[in-house]
Amino acid sequence: MKEFLLVFRRDFVTREVQPSPEQLQNMMKPWQDWMGSLGAQNKLVSSGNRLASEGRVVKPSKAIINGPYVEMKEAIGGYIIVKANSIDEAAELAKGCPVLQIGGNVEVRTVVGADDNT
């Protein structure tokens, strides 16, 4: 089994696509059900963290600008780590992620282990 990072991204900028507080509240159950499902399959390594929309970006010039996003509208909203036999299996697991229901996407990346030379 290998470990994979699932990164959730969504548009935090465009006003029209922002979920209402009520919608966000309603998202709680699908998220918890999805994470619980991964846990029940013994595929969850870390339930990661959720990230607030506020952020700073430090440029090579050491200039600090507002916003977590570098050059695009989509920003990272959170991440978890799962375990799976292959990156394709990990991507299958990501299909259940509720961020997809609000137009977001999930990036699946292989975690490089200490004794991994690839």
């Binding site: 918890q32 059900d33 994470m35 846990g39 029940a40 399959q41 013994n42 969850l44």
Partner: protein, 408 residues
């Protein structure tokens, strides 16, 4: 209480106190001496009380005798000569000067410290449980063997091995520093949790021993919640969990000792007082930010103290299992979560989730699938129950599954 009841009772409550005080006084390497003195004291009690009658204050009698035995032993030249470290540990050269403090406070402190010594990570969790049973609960190797469904010799070996490990690791007797208490307390709580589970879920049919295991776990857990340093939210949560579970003790077995499933239990036999005590500790557990697996399990057990099915109840149980599985995976939690999912979101969703579980060698898994198909597909349900029957290990499990097949 007559003598026949009194001595076993005192053995349960006082043996561990005497051992803890003596052991602490003597140092980690002299556990056997502490055990010998405590055992001899009780032996003498059974002989003397039988002839001369029960003393006015039996507990004080036990303390005085064990104290004198200890002093006698110290006078014995052999020990002084053969064991220099023994002498050093005491820091005194004359037995007369030695204080043996059997005050309530020292007894309590010593017992708490003993729990931390026994639950030291240098011995395996199974060995910690055995040693806790032996030293903190006064269980003999025969009783422990009965609870673990094994023989006396292997328990005896196991106990000797763990004592040797504690000795060679030269564990210092005492509470860990406050900064380490939370982490070390986790190990202690886990041991108590397993001790309780051993009694609650063991397949041994010796009901009195099983009940005693649960009560001992609760007694030790209470010591933690009564001490300021160890009275943490997790310790309270675990005690709440134990109260909720043990409230069903009278309802969960029939007169032959066979298990009665939760759904078929007579609620009138549930102990309301224990449920209330459990609620009290669950409240105390809710202070602070800590959310341990004991909190989640206690909350789940709390919802089970009311049999009425409501969507709210099952949705809550589902979310608690979701959180529990994010902290720690276990096949039981995975199966129970799927059951709660069926109750909260319907069988169809739950079947899809059940099929993702990799538990094909677990009879509870196939029992669950049978339950989920029961209402819609009798044939499928029956075939799953039959698969479960093939995998079931004990007779009482097989009986339960056979009944389910008959009803299909």
């Amino acid at each position: 209480m007559n003598q026949q009841e009194l001595l076993p009772h005192l053995f349960r409550t006082e043996y561990r106190k005497i051992i803890s005080v003596l052991w602490k006084r003597l140092g980690i390497e002299h556990i056997e001496i502490a055990e010998d003195i405590a055992s001899h004291t009780f032996l003498l009690a059974s002989e003397t009380w039988g002839q001369k009658g029960i003393p006015k204050n039996p507990t004080a009698w036990l303390y005085t005798v064990s104290k004198n035995k200890m002093l006698d032993l110290l006078k014995h030249q052999r020990i002084f000569n053969e064991n220099v470290s023994f002498e050093l540990a005491l820091g005194k050269t004359s037995a007369q000067e030695i204080e043996i403090d059997l005050s309530d406070k020292n007894i309590n402190d010593s017992q708490l410290q003993m729990m931390f010594v026994i639950c030291n990570p240098c011995i395996s969790v199974q060995d910690q449980i055995c040693l806790s049973l032996n030293i903190l609960c006064g269980f003999g190797s025969e009783e422990i063997a009965d609870a673990f469904l094994t023989n006396r010799e292997s328990i005896y070996k196991r106990l000797a091995r763990s004592k040797e490990k504690l000795r060679s690791a030269q564990i210092k007797i005492g509470l860990p520093p406050q900064v380490e208490i939370d982490k070390r307390l986790d190990t202690v709580l886990t041991t108590l949790y397993l001790l309780f589970s051993e009694g609650y879920y063991s397949t041994s049919k010796n009901e009195p021993v099983r009940k005693e295991l649960c009560l001992e776990a609760m007694r030790l857990n209470s010591m933690l919640t009564e001490n300021e340093q160890t009275n943490t939210p997790s310790a309270n949560a675990l005690l709440a969990l134990m109260c909720f579970h043990s409230s069903r003790f009278e309802a969960r077995a029939d007169k032959h000792g066979d298990l009665i499933l939760y759904e078929e239990q007579d609620e009138a036999l549930w102990n309301k007082e224990l449920i209330q005590i459990g609620e009290y500790y669950l409240n105390r557990a809710s202070h602070g930010k800590q959310l341990s697996k004991f909190h989640l399990e206690a909350a789940i057990a709390y919802w089970h103290t009311n049999k009425t099915d409501t969507t709210e109840k099952w949705e809550n149980i589902l979310q608690l299992y979701n959180k529990l599985l994010q902290i720690e995976y276990s096949p039981v939690a995975a199966l129970n979560r799927t059951y709660a999912l069926a109750k909260a979101n319907g069988n169809k969703v739950a079947i899809a989730e059940a099929e993702k579980l990799d538990l094909k060698d677990n009879h509870f898994y196939f029992t669950l699938l049978g339950e989920l198909f029961k209402a819609t597909d009798h044939e499928k349900a029956k075939s799953y129950f039959q698969k479960a029957l093939l995998l079931a290990k004990t007779d009482s499990e097989k009986q339960i599954i056979l009944k389910k097949i008959e009803r299909c």
